[in-house]
């Protein structure tokens, strides 16, 4: 094969590897962004404890201290009736007149806002903390997103499993595609392998350049796929707001590319180096 032919084979192999990896990259981008949305939702998971009107500010602060020492609680914040009113006015200025209509005796209830450690932000654990709190003296009501939290917890759980499962399936199938592409490229150079073997080259001497080539092809192919996916991501960024992959995921794609390329060469060379037939 002449130099031009070799270059064409290399470029075709590179393009095939890049396009194969692009499918994987797009899957990762979608998973990453979906995961970010769900993670943000989970960040907001907390408990709001509304206090009875009879609870004094001192008792409320004591209650907040008590809650802050419960397992799974990260922080507590006491919201006085005055602060609640200020928040209401700031958040819903068009509804502010309602407060005036209800008269000077009406005031919003004091509350304690509780944030939880990340591992306690599941439906079951938040519910457990909420049940304990609701039995405490002075507590009027406890709100913790009972309606949406089970769905959110399930969605996060399913997404995590789906990413791992689909990621594994894609990674394995992708590795096989890349491996086979590299193997076919090597098969075109069977004469080189045969001659090297006949002149007395040891197996490793024959294999090393091909494995190195597979490594380079896999890495360059996966880097090319990241560039292509990055370009698509950039073009879509104004119409579909999203983030590109974080650094460690990019490193994962490159490592997978290098690994599958080297594996392809190794598999190709296993059948490529002639052994004595008995």
């Amino acid at each position: 094969m002449n130099i031009r032919g070799k270059l064409a084979t290399f470029l075709i192999t590179l393009l095939m590897v890049s396009l194969s990896f692009m499918v994987f990259d797009i899957f990762l981008v979608v998973s990453w962004n979906l995961g970010t949305v769900l993670r943000n939702e989970q960040e907001n998971v907390g408990i709001e404890i509304f206090l009875k009107d009879t609870v004094s500010e001192t008792d409320a602060v004591n209650l907040a201290d008590l809650v802050s020492e419960m397992e799974g609680v990260r922080s507590v914040y006491y919201v006085s009736p005055q602060e609640a009113e200020a928040i209401f006015r700031a958040d819903m200025p068009e509804q502010a007149d309602l407060l005036a209509l209800l008269g000077p005796q009406f005031h919003l209830p004091a509350s304690i806002q509780v944030t939880l450690h990340p591992e306690y932000r599941t439906s079951e654990r938040v519910g457990g903390v909420a049940r304990t709190v609701s039995g405490m003296d002075g507590v009027d009501d406890v709100i913790y997103g009972k309606e949406y939290l089970p769905g959110l917890t399930r969605a996060v759980d399913i997404l995590e499993k789906l990413v791992i499962l689909a990621g594994l399936v894609l990674a394995v199938s992708l590795s096989l595609v890349v491996a086979n592409t590299v193997r076919l490229a090597i098969a075109k150079r069977a004469l080189t392998v045969q001659i090297m073997s006949i002149v007395g080259a040891p197996g490793w001497f024959v294999r090393m350049p091909f494995i190195g080539e597979g490594l380079v092809t896999g890495t360059a192919g996966s880097a090319g796929s990241l560039l292509l996916t990055g370009a698509v991501s950039w073009m879509l960024s104004s119409s579909v707001p999203h983030q590109f992959l974080p650094g460690d995921w990019i490193a994962l794609v490159l490592v997978l590319g290098a690994g599958s390329g080297a594996a392809g060469s190794w598999i190709g060379m296993r059948s490529g180096v002639p052994k004595p037939r008995r």
């Binding site: 002449n2 004469l191 073997s197 006949i198 002149v199 007395g200 040891p202 004595p276 037939r277």
Partner: protein, 227 residues
């Protein structure tokens, strides 16, 4: 003894490519193996460089036995052989110099020693002016000389030439045979497989004939008169 076949048979499925072959080659000997196409000449050669192993019997080459050959020993055995093929089998993406240097490079010879040996051999073979050329830029005769240079570069104990003149015109063929004879005179054992044993002058070599996988006495071989 550099090559010894002891009652060697080789079957592909049930088809006998070689049957009960007994053959000895002494150091520095010139052996011509002739016979029609499909007689088993190439199979016999493959057994010498141990690309094939016998179905039964034992092949011993340069101290290595087919019965006990390990994967690590195979490259070591092949470094003691020089092999020339009818279709040259030069690496197309390598220059003449790099093709000839290959056996030394795979054996881990230092670059300086490789350069010295390759330049000297190319000069001997009158190929020095072609050292930067690629195989497709050479004539058939030049390609075969490069193939012979590659086979000889590591000072092999045995040179195997499998129909080396099959693709060459008579004049170039004559020169290739003369080159093989010269190599033999320098002490290297040569085994030549050819359709036409008349290429080698009588008295220079020992002749053997293969017919359908059997070594036969030249005088009893039906095809001898037709050569």
């Amino acid at each position: 003894m550099v090559v010894s076949f002891q009652n060697v048979s080789r079957f592909y499925n049930d088809w006998p490519a070689l049957e009960r072959i007994n053959l000895q080659l002494e150091q520095g000997e010139f052996l011509v193996i002739s016979g029609p196409s499909g007689a088993g000449k190439t199979t016999l050669f493959r057994h010498i460089w141990m690309g094939d192993l016998p179905s039964s019997g034992t092949v011993e080459v340069a101290g290595y036995s087919s019965d006990r050959l390990s994967r690590k020993e195979l490259p070591l055995l092949r470094r003691k052989l020089g092999i020339v093929f009818q279709d040259f089998r030069l690496l197309p993406e390598r220059t003449v110099y790099d093709n000839v240097a290959l056996p030394l490079q795979v054996a881990g010879t230092s670059p300086k020693a490789v350069r010295r040996r390759v330049f000297s051999l190319l000069a001997e073979m009158e190929l020095n002016h072609r050292r930067g050329s690629y195989p497709h830029e050479l004539s058939g005769g030049e390609q075969q000389r490069v193939a012979i240079a590659r086979a000889m570069v590591a000072h092999p104990v045995i040179l195997l030439a499998d129909e080396p003149t099959g693709n060459l015109d008579p004049e170039v063929s004559r020169k290739v045979i003369e080159l093989l004879m010269e190599i033999n005179r320098s002490g290297t054992a040569v085994v030549l497989a050819t359709h036409d044993p008349r290429q080698v002058p009588a008295g220079v070599a020992r002749f053997m004939y293969l017919d359908r996988g059997h070594l036969v006495n030249p005088s009893s071989w039906d095809g001898y008169e037709q050569l």
